[in-house]
């Protein structure tokens, strides 16, 4: 049987959903792969939801909003853009491949463009093949990576950085100091890597208590770096010393009571 991708599309009510309506009204055909979810604004798309859906085996996720400057909610779509930018980097870390996520701007008058995009994205997903997380047996390593990504996207740091990006760049912080886009991007990239790695460490020690050295080997990372992450995790009350073997501390995960 040929592979028929299942794609979830988040469309904003005012532009993209109307664009998809227009494709239908104009009888423009496109692949049946997309399952549309109507939201009031593309800004409603929480990175956590996208990760959750990809982890559950969707072959692709599309987010569509109004063109910049046309947003019904002034600039919800620009918030979406920042979220997707962060998400793609995070997904790349997991090994799933950021090509399974796509952000597009479609206006209410662009029925043809909507159809073209769905077709093109469907072809792209067909080339990529079924999601390794679809079907009965999904890759457990990838699934754990997705879990780490999801937790990273759920945590304060990345969310606050995404939410404050515009403010930090355009208005500056409380002292009126503005951040350059390049500087911000660098901070963001570092934060994504750090938070993702920390959550992986947490998941690894949750499965089985282990030493920094063991973690470093499994993560293919410098032990110094891993240690610093472990220190942060201990400070956050997520990890504790389980026992000391000879002189090596073995770390274990704490239950999170949230």
């Amino acid at each position: 049987m040929t592979f028929e991708p299942k794609i979830v599309g988040f469309l904003c009510n005012w532009c993209s959903y109307a664009g998809a309506d227009l494709a239908g009204v104009s009888r423009i055909s496109y692949p049946t792969s997309i399952r549309i979810i109507r939201l009031m604004c593309s800004g409603r798309v929480d990175p956590v939801i996208v990760l959750e859906i990809l982890a559950s085996g969707a072959d692709g996720v599309m987010v569509m909003g109004c063109h910049p400057g046309d947003c019904h909610y002034i600039e919800g779509n620009l918030q979406t853009e920042r979220k997707i930018k962060m998400l793609k980097k995070l997904i790349e870390e997991t090994g799933l491949g950021p090509e399974r996520l796509r952000l597009e701007w479609v206006s209410a008058s662009e029925g043809g463009r909507f159809a073209d995009i769905v077709k093109e994205f469907t072809d792209q997903i067909k080339t990529l093949g079924p999601s390794p997380l679809s079907g009965e047996k999904s890759d457990p390593v990838l699934l754990e990576n997705m879990q780490a990504a999801k937790w990273a996207a759920e945590d304060f740091r990345l969310r606050v950085l995404v939410g404050r990006e515009k403010e930090l760049i355009d208005e500056g912080n409380v002292y009126g100091e503005k951040t350059l886009q390049e500087e911000f991007d660098k901070t963001m990239d570092e934060a994504i890597q750090a938070e993702y790695t920390r959550n992986r460490i947490y998941l690894m020690v949750k499965r089985e208590p282990q030493s920094v050295k063991q973690l470093a080997k499994r993560l293919d990372l410098d032990a110094q770096k891993v240690l610093r992450h472990v220190v942060v995790l201990r400070r956050r009350g997520m990890v504790t010393v389980d026992r000391v073997e000879e002189t090596t501390p073995i770390y274990a995960a704490l239950e999170l009571g949230k």
Partner: protein, 580 residues
């Protein structure tokens, strides 16, 4: 459903105790859906879905017969959720929601499955796949509606008074219109007297009447009107609240403050003239002046005999960067003043150096012809080769200009150079935009909700804009827009009450850390931190976009009717058929 091991994101559905009873109505829409999608198959499938207790197909669910079926079935089967699988909710949701309400069901317990625009019409060549997709769409919709809860649209009263900011021609026109409709108006002007820009102008095109003549009449009418409270030398310091109930603080020059309550606000603060410091010797030589200063000289009759007058258009306007916009009124102002100069000194040589002459409409175009007939000389120059002042000697300014149509350099010696500069946003507009929480556009002017469909409203309900505060305008255009703004403001006040959005954000105080990210993100200023430092949503102001919820670092914000749980249930149903 296989949720990833979760820490706090998804709150498992604490549904209301009552058992869910969902009815699914699948529409044939004549042959529009039924001709492609196997509708009976979809009905059969719907009956297998969790909590679906009833399903049927209708030839046209939106017909009165179809609507009656919905109402009857709600009663007969005691339905507490309804799904109609038919066309787009963008056109028919209101109708079906009203039907549910008539049968005593809260309208938010209804959801539409779009199997026409998004399915049968788009997949006419693939009926089997279209049927499968329609089943999925119905499954997704049922998954979402299962988690719906009733929502209320609170009704609020509207205070029947307006704050008009700016006492120029626009503000006064709006104030008079509203007072004439029986509403109280507070008219605030930061200058000591009313009149705005018109006080400084000479004659108005195309009637050539004195600006002061019309202005005096309207100022008098405003002064006489008992429903208009005039506050000059006063600025707006703070605005809180929302449509229907704005709480305004004013401050006079002497520092006195006053508070008032209004239902609506009109921004009519006008614009400033751009001062072309350093351009073409402006500010250095007294015979280089702006068009605005020429108006003053003409008004006071202080113009001496002139030999040659050169007017330069687009000075500091339509630039590559910065003031990129066309100021709209300068071409006609130059034509008018050129004709007036010509009238005063018929022997004078008057040049207009222009990039593009915008004399739109039949009346303005006829003025262009008239000016040509009167002997005014038009020279087209190009942005890359602007006119250049080469010498200023003995009260004469020598200009070189590359004549773009002749393709050669022309030298003009003139007695007076008049620079047509654009209207620009006032220096204090940004402050006002922050006080009102309404945006300024890329050119610095106040930015409307939609350029074509809502040209006078701000995205924030209850606040409207008119006149040059919005973009450069002449007085006739300002008056029209002011009348428009007054009508827009009158609508909620005439009705006296309004229903607010039910789909709003809700903060879980126990989770909120007070970081303030949502306060910054909300484009409507609907979220503030309260005295406890916790985010608080003013439901009346919230438009329900959900961006705050999707960004909240603590996941403390829920979007009603589009909760994480609802959205995810809908998505999972898309590719995990019949899992519950």
């Amino acid at each position: 459903m296989r949720y990833l091991l979760t820490r706090r994101c998804i709150r498992t559905g604490q549904m209301n105790q009552q058992a869910r009873r969902i009815g699914v109505f699948v529409c044939h829409c004549g042959i529009n859906i039924g001709g492609i999608v196997d509708v009976p198959k979809v009905v059969k499938y719907a009956l297998t879905l969790p909590d679906v207790v009833y399903s049927e197909d209708n030839l046209y669910t939106c017909s009165s017969e179809g609507l009656n079926r919905i109402k009857e079935t709600i009663r007969k089967y005691d339905l507490n959720r309804v799904v109609v699988a038919s066309c787009t909710p963008r056109t028919h949701e209101t109708l079906f929601r009203a039907t549910c309400e008539e049968a005593g069901l809260n309208k938010y317990l209804f959801e539409m499955a779009n199997i026409r625009e998004h399915c049968s019409w788009a997949h006419m060549d693939e009926p089997d796949k279209a049927t499968e997709k329609a089943k999925d769409i119905v499954g997704m919709t049922v998954a979402k509606v299962r988690l719906h809860t009733p929502q209320e649209e609170p009704e609020i009263a509207v205070v029947p008074s307006t704050l008009v900011i700016g006492g120029g021609i626009s503000g006064m026109t709006a104030a008079l219109s509203l007072a004439g409709q029986g509403f109280k108006v507070c008219l605030v002007e930061r200058e000591p007297e009313l009149g705005g820009m018109l006080r400084h102008l000479h004659k108005l095109y195309t009637t050539m009447e004195d600006a002061s003549e019309g202005l005096n009449k309207i100022v008098e009418a405003v002064r006489q009107n008992r429903d208009i409270d005039i506050k000059t030398s006063t600025v707006v310091k703070r605005v809180k609240g929302f449509i229907g109930n704005f709480d305004v603080s004013l401050q006079s020059e002497s520092g006195e403050t006053a508070n008032l309550e209004v239902g609506t606000i009109i921004v009519a603060t006008g614009a400033d003239i751009f001062e072309p410091a350093g351009m073409y010797g402006y500010g250095k030589f007294e015979n280089v002046i702006t068009q605005f200063e020429l108006e003053g000289l003409l008004r006071k009759g202080q113009l001496e005999k002139l030999g040659t007058v050169v007017m330069i258009q687009c000075v500091g306007a339509r630039e590559e960067k910065g003031r990129t916009y066309c100021s709209r009124i300068c071409c006609m102002t130059a034509l008018k003043n050129a004709l007036l100069v010509k009238q005063m000194c018929p022997e004078a040589d008057v040049y207009i150096l222009f990039r593009d002459l915008q004399t739109y409409g039949s009346e303005y175009e006829s003025w262009h012809r008239m000016a040509q007939n009167e002997g005014i000389k038009f020279v087209k120059y190009a942005l890359e080769k602007p006119p250049e002042v080469v010498a200023i000697r003995d009260g004469k300014v020598t200009l070189d200009v590359y004549h773009a149509l002749l393709g050669e350099q022309v030298r003009i010696e003139s007695d007076l150079v008049v620079l047509s500069t654009p209207l620009v946003q006032r220096g204090d507009a940004r402050e006002l935009s922050q006080v009102l929480k309404v945006p300024l556009g890329p050119d610095g002017f106040f930015f409307e909700a939609h350029v074509k469909l809502r040209p006078i409203d701000f995205a924030t309900d209850g606040i409207y804009v008119c006149g040059s505060a919005h973009s450069p305008k002449n007085s006739a255009e300002s008056v029209s827009q002011a009348l428009g703004a007054a009508s827009r403001a009158a609508i909620p006040m005439a009705v006296g009450r309004l229903r607010t959005e039910a789909i709003t954000a809700e903060v879980d105080e126990s989770l909120c850390g007070g970081c303030g990210t949502c306060v910054k993100i909300c484009p409507y200023g609907a979220i503030e931190k309260d005295e406890k430092g916790v985010a608080k949503v003013t439901a009346v102001v919230c438009k329900g976009c959900g961006t705050c919820g999707a960004s909240c670092p603590e996941k403390a914000i829920t979007m009603r009717h589009f909760t994480d749980e609802q959205v995810m249930a809908q998505a999972f149903a898309a590719f995990r058929r019949a899992t519950a």
